[in-house]
Amino acid sequence: MALKVGYNFTLFYLNKYFLTLVFVANKHLCLVFGKAVHALSRIGDEIWLDPLEKGLAVRTVNSSQSAYACFCFTPLFFQQYIPDPDIRKDCEAVKCKLNMKCVLPLFRCASWRERSVDKCEISINIPNSRVIFQFHCRHGITKTYNLGYQECEALQAVFPAHLCPNVLMAQSKLLGDIVVHFPVSQEEVTLSISSFKVTLKTFCEEENNCIKGMNTELMLHPDEFDYFQVGEDSAVTFCLKELRGLLSFAESYGLPVSSQFGVAGQPISFTVKDMTLEAHVVLSTLTDPNHESPSQPAPGDDCPVNILKTSTAEVSTCEGPMETEVCIADGEQVASSQGSDVFNPTPHMRKMIQLQTPGEMLPRLRLAPESALTTPVTPATFKVRSLLFGAVYTNGMDSKTVDLPSLACASDTEED
């Protein structure tokens, strides 16, 4: 396998009590990382860094939890791997949450970085709760940024893409050409699919409103797509603004974008993949007003972000000042992150985006090339998050322990 990008991932172990993870990236990855941060900044105000065994996952979610994005940078090879299983477990237990406003300026001027930056090192200093971005620039100049992070639970969305009836894949250029026709202020669009065409159009809440302003509708023939699979005719409405970041990322690198979705109300996922990274954006879609009720969650299920967990609910929350303030009452029309007042992030979406404690048996993100975010299916760790069945909480979570249980990962997940 030819190395498309020459960069190294190094998991570096200094000593047992002062653990620093180091990811070293050359100029190219630094640019890619910067573009990923830009794309993520279009969605959320916070950025989660999750050093997994197989790479660095950088994630965000928007304040209303209706959009989730994850960029996972896979190492092509390890220079050094942590031999001691205890330390490795500590490594993998680190979840950092940073304020997007702190990270974005570091990667702001792409063209300057391209010229000046030779190398970028990202380290996580656990004892001091710092993420360190160090840029080695031209002329020997070094820029070091020590950013304080919040320890938090992992942010992870579980999206069984293989269960989606509809799959589309297109070149990013095509998608870019499509979305350029929609004004930047346009928030929601409706994507309709049938066997003989795909339509993307401005979403109008009521028929009357369609008269005001400009409405755009584009129709595409299945042949325009690199891959076209329609399992179920549907029309899904989602927020286009939150997708633009991923699309421009894909366009910068000429990567195709694939999309998996089902019927209205089920989240839609967009994926960009190549040998070195995998990026996903999952957006909630409007439920079809004609088929409302079964998906309404129980009344006690308010504020999934802030509220902490009961033994059955999936965990959410991060303690501390960085906690999001949004409290979503179900059934209510809530503002999407861009202030649109019609969007109702569906309960499906919220259930999908869960913040898990480290002690749980996390289904590891498998970065198999063919699938998007699929969970590894093992008897002990399988959590059913089937979108087709709506909200399902696994009861296996009642005996949640916070300390690292010995029955975690090692025996149950498919470690190499």
Binding site: N99, K101, C102, P105, W112, S116, R130, H139, G140, I141, T142, K143, T144, Y145, N146, L147, G148
Partner: protein
């Protein structure tokens, strides 16, 4: 080219006459020190020195040598006055920022002496404007007593490398810390903002580093960010900058500026250290 509206008789009463074919050669430099409204002018045989001070902690000086002017006549040993710098800059740029090559504003600056306004004759494309700006009694600029003998550390850098750092400085940090050391990190700018710390390190063997002279001790001093941030304007104009600290922790920044005609002028900033810090 002398302005034809000027009669010989008028010229006799002025104690200072300074003319420039291109007023930008003066206005650009003055913008680099425009921290505050008032500027103290001190003209001598050598040229013009303009001083602006801020809260008794920061002083910015611009030096425009007599040779820069197409005409420079001074009838006394020293001529001093104070004017509103903002008004002066507005007058110097009264014809707008014309970027048409070859077209520039000509300036003749005249001063009768104590109690008289500063008179500016500006001409562009045949149009003449006369501005008279009230002057005040010049204040005595603070003497920071920064002499070479007390200098402990000195570096000279090419401005290009510092420009990026200064434009990116974390403004949520109250202070800018400057560290100069004979060993790593050699020359470091640090900020301590809401999100965390940032450090910009310039090694002594960097090709941006023209001179690195550091005594055996490292020095670390903090300066109020609000005082130093305006120096970015001077940095932007300059091609080289020298950074010196003395035994008291006072900072001297000297900028070498080339004007439109390639002539050299100097701008310097003096800054007191932020009081909490002990100078090592």
């Amino acid at each position: 080219m002398p302005l034809s509206t000027q009669s010989q008789a008028d010229a006799d009463q002025y104690i200072l006459i300074a003319s420039l074919d291109n007023a930008r050669n003066l206005s650009n430099i003055l913008k680099a020190i425009s921290l505050r409204d008032h500027a103290i002018f001190n003209a001598t045989q050598n040229g013009l020195k303009v001083t602006v001070e801020d809260s008794k902690c920061l002083q910015a000086n611009a030096f425009i040598q007599a040779e820069i002017f197409q005409e420079y006549i001074i009838k006394e040993d020293a001529v001093g006055f104070q004017v509103n710098l903002t008004v002066l800059l507005d007058c110097l740029t009264i014809f707008g920022g014309s970027t048409v090559p070859g077209v520039c504003t000509a300036l003749r600056m005249c001063y009768n002496g104590y109690g008289y306004p500063l008179t500016l004759f500006l001409e562009e494309g045949g149009v003449v404007t006369v501005c008279k700006i009230n002057t005040q009694e010049p204040e005595e600029p603070i003497d920071f007593d920064f002499c070479s003998t007390n200098v402990t550390n000195k570096v000279i850098l090419q401005s290009e490398s510092l420009k990026e750092a200064f434009s990116e400085l974390d403004m949520t940090s109250e202070v800018l810390q400057i560290t100069m050391s004979p060993s790593h990190p050699y020359f470091r700018l640090s900020t301590f903002g809401n999100s965390g710390n940032a450090h910009y390190d310039y090694p002594k063997d960097s090709d941006m580093m023209e001179l690195f002279h550091c005594t055996s001790e490292a020095s670390t001093c903090k300066y109020k960010m609000s005082l130093l941030k305006p120096s970015t304007k001077a940095l932007a104009l300059s091609c080289k900058v020298s950074v010196r600290t003395d035994s008291r922790g006072f900072l001297s920044l000297q900028y070498l500026v080339r004007n439109d005609d390639g002539q050299i002028c100097f701008v310097e900033y003096y800054c007191c250290p932020d009081e909490e810090v002990e100078e090592e």
